[in-house]
Subunit: 570 residues, 2 copies
């Protein structure tokens, strides 16, 4: 591509709306432009990288034996009613009516569609296993679209669904996808960890998220420094050490007027937060759930939801409910005598001695409270892990990092096949529900994650595998015939080899061209300048500061070497 013919839309200024490096750089390098909140148009430069990521995904999916398919984005409501999700899915779902007032949604996910296809075409175990995937546009009306394509409302997703006759088959399908995902993200040049993820709420039997570590990630991930344990915060197991043993003291009721928050309690009693147990009241659909955790801990809502057998709607209880179940104002809730459908007591609290809780009486707390003696409840792991906790697998030190979820693999089991009647005849002639798995990759988000890990202050530093172009040839002075002739020859030579090359033939100063090349992140830069009179050019990798003066004739070999090094086929 000649840059004079190319739509170059680089920006010098940092767009005000963008916070994240990837978001800023995708706008500044002219890869995309905003159409509306959370909706972007991909410009030619950005689309090239996007398509390369798609192709990496496609190749590895094909290699894993999956077959590509393409579903519509418009999905009739009937399918979602069958699975029971039409009324459950919140405002994230874009809904619309057609001219005959028939209801549709813009698919935020495609479980129903794939299950419908499967029940239509799969009759016998002989057709199994089957893995269908698509690279398709999804729609989610995010409450707060942000960070560019990291959380957008129209985005490209690879979603795959596997169908097996039994759970062993599902394990195999799942593991194939695990391996394929590992390869995909490695080929895209992102460092990525597969972490255990919660699967309770969706009713599955196993799940892993592929997380790219990034300080700007929206998710918290717990890693063990010593072993390979990694889990997202929702799922990470909190191991609660027993407290130092104390003799049980008599419980007392103490007046604590105007003392409502943990901070106020610490001040009032002049002891540490680990001597308090706070009681939080939630509503899980129509049930009231009281959760008791140590004063300085965070409740893990996903663990709570799973413990109560799932909930469509889950939120902090409103003031009225709290008053009703505690018979007190907000700030004085406690586990003793609370009128809740569930009382969940965190492991840590069950192991504490002589602690303080709200008295369920406005203006009072109870001191020297002990689990078992003074109250009971369901004991379990209901809190978030902290960096003080130990690895549940090896006891090692845990680190909590932020990450970007780029992929998710999930054992669905029979959740959809049962509700939608997707069955097959097994070898024994019995009709059984299909055993399903689902596997997603956010394609645009992967693109942003790559940039998060590959940029510097001058711009993007694309890995060769997903760069919009491989090489940029810059004649320093285009009016200089010798330079221009050598640049053209090099450009054509590389093109003939199958290298994707840009010739910056614009009437701009070399400095401007360097800046644009750096911003766009083209991995290999060859500058044809004054040295051409000695048959030499400058060869520079975007990822390195080093500028090598090499013979014009050796450029092609240097480029080939770089391809070999990054294991990219030419």
């Amino acid at each position: 591509m000649r840059m004079s013919n190319m739509l170059v839309t680089t920006l010098r200024e940092v767009p005000a709306e963008a916070e994240l490096p990837s978001h800023k750089l995708m706008l500044r390098s002219g890869m995309m432009r905003k159409m509306a909140s959370g909706i972007y148009n991909f410009m030619p430069l950005g689309l090239r990288s996007l398509k390369k990521i798609e192709n990496v995904v496609r190749e590895e999916m094909d290699r894993a034996g999956a077959q590509e398919f393409l579903a519509s984005a418009l999905i009739p409501s009937e399918l979602w009613q069958e699975s029971g999700r039409w009324d459950v899915f919140g405002p994230e779902m874009f809904r619309l009516n057609d001219r005959n007032e028939r209801q549709f949604c813009l698919g935020p996910t495609h479980e129903e569609v794939f299950t419908d296809i499967a029940r239509g075409v799969i009759k016998s175990y002989k057709q199994l296993p089957l893995n269908l995937y698509q690279i398709q546009t999804k729609y989610r009306d995010e409450r707060r679209p942000r960070f560019g394509v990291m959380r957008s409302r129209e985005f490209i997703m690879k979603d795959a669904y596997s169908f097996d006759k039994d759970y062993e088959g599902l394990d195999e399908s799942y593991n194939k996808m695990y391996d394929a995902y590992t390869k995909i993200f490695a080929r895209c040049g992102v460092e990525c960890s597969a972490v255990e993820a919660d699967s309770g709420a969706i009713g599955g039997t196993g799940s892993a998220e592929f997380m790219v570590k990034s300080e700007f990630g929206e998710d918290e991930v717990v890693f063990c420094d010593s072993c390979n344990y990694a889990a997202n915060m929702e799922k990470a197991i909190a191991i609660s050490e027993p407290s130092q043993k104390e003799e049980l003291k008599d419980m007392e009721k103490t007046a604590t007027p105007e003392v409502k928050t943990i901070e106020e309690l610490i001040k009032f009693f002049n002891i540490g937060p680990n001597k308090f147990a706070k009681t939080l009241v939630y509503k899980a659909d129509n049930k009231v759930v009281a959760v008791v955790v140590r004063g300085d801990r965070e409740v893990n809502e996903v663990k709570v939801i799973n413990a109560v057998g799932g909930a469509v709607e889950f939120e902090m209880a409103d003031e009225k409910t709290v008053r009703k179940v505690t018979s007190a104002e907000i700030g004085f809730a406690g586990p003793i005598g609370i009128k809740a459908d569930f009382v969940l007591v965190d492991n840590e609290v069950a192991n504490m001695y002589n602690f303080i809780v709200g008295a369920n009486d406005t203006g009072y707390h109870l001191v020297n409270v002990n689990y078992g003696r003074d109250f009971e409840g369901t004991v379990g792991d209901f809190r978030n892990v902290t960096s003080e906790d130990k690895c549940p697998k090896c006891g090692g030190k845990l680190t909590i990092a932020r990450g970007i979820e780029v992929g998710h693999i999930f054992k669905l089991g029979t959740k959809y096949s049962e509700s939608m009647g997707a069955v097959f005849s097994d070898e024994d002639g019995k009709v059984k529900p299909l055993i399903m798995g689902c596997y997603g990759i956010g394609v645009n988000r992967t693109m942003a994650a790559i940039i998060e890990q590959h940029h510097d202050e001058d711009g993007i530093v694309w890995p060769l595998s997903v760069a919009p172009y491989h090489v940029i040839v810059i004649p320093a002075v285009i009016k200089n015939e010798e330079q221009m002739k050598a640049a053209e020859e090099l450009y054509n030579g590389l093109k003939d080899l199958g290298v994707e090359v840009v010739l910056d033939d614009r009437k701009e100063r070399a400095g401007v061209k360097f800046k644009d090349a750096d911003l766009m992140g083209i991995p290999i830069r060859v500058t044809v300048g004054k040295l051409i009179s000695e048959g030499k050019v400058e060869f520079k990798l975007r990822s390195s500061e080093e500028v090598e003066e090499i013979d014009l004739s050796s450029v092609i070999n240097k480029v080939k070497e770089q391809f070999e090094k990054e294991e990219i086929k030419l």
Copy 2:
């Protein structure tokens, strides 16, 4: 691909809903499945062909210097309000609100989006010409979705927009697209004619439709048997020969009680339809338009709309309006004394003598009426061409055929750039509106059109260029080790060559395999049967009845030959 791993979903029965051969065959061969009225899911087999068509389109667009881009399908209403089309676009546009009650549509077309992009990125004549295209999903809520993907509600379209600094540039961009389209359809194996199309209603300055002749096409196309004249019915020029001269007779009012239709008039007066002029009353927005054509002619509404300067809404006038402007019941409208905003008189009527018209008086007609003497109006071409008419270019015989519109190229001029302020600075420093062209190809419809032209009673007969697979290798008896071994070797040999090959290793009778291969339309079939003991196999092209017995060792060369013959690179 081994067929035992492939999702084969061929159907023996003809689906009841399908009328068109392409629709029937796409369902029967398992290329796609219906999701809802006018909405289809593409199964792996169908998607392979669809992607090949996309790639042909992509290659030729790139070759013509266009740059690929990708816009969102969700478009905010504001853009359409700017162009003035938000209120104008009818129920074909899917509209929806986001969670903040902001209005969006699912793009039925993308003029506004591309114009918006252009005004954002194009500043100077130096950036011109520019041609941006995308291969993207479009949405149109058709009143009557039908014929499978021929007229569907969610479909893939290639749309391109060119931006030039002047009309000479637009002509050049337009001609490049004309050539690219010609190549694209040729490579897809469809016989296709570029026909003149109307452009008045959209306000452009030139337009051509690429039509595939097909008895099931929804459009009428007028071809000259002698020269290269071709136009769609909307645009085709009707040349009206002067009638044989007669002396003008005195006009008379005749009572014609209960005689309202042309048929009744013919009977009543006992003369041919060419002695009548019928007057049809339309409403073009708020204006009343009376159109006078010969009794046996059809009014061409597009020509009428253009003659009155365009209309957003155009329809036959309601009974009340007809009564008001004619002062008579329906059936007695005539040009004399009619209270219309426009009276349009077809060329043919202006050339007739002593004809009969409605009297604008219930129960009466006027005889011996003559244009000029008895009434006036705007004379022009307002009727559809018939096969009795002569070619407007050479006077030759015209044929009217049905066709499928697969592509449309269009000189938009400044319609959108002016209304949306998409301007650039020219060499002379002046700010001018961009001169635009737009160019569309219906990708799914092209697929259906290919099948319309390439099928027989057994199934599809894919051209090699867009076939889902090139070759199918069928071992007649898979339990026969010698056959299976040879088939496997051939399969691997062809795969290594880059040929897309299916090995039908299913436990089915050879007859079933042949039927499926024919239905799916795989261009080359190699059967490994009994003859393998003599080193021979059966080689058959799907497009021919001939079965050749050839040496196993020569199959690869035969396949290569076929690729060369159809000019497909391996």
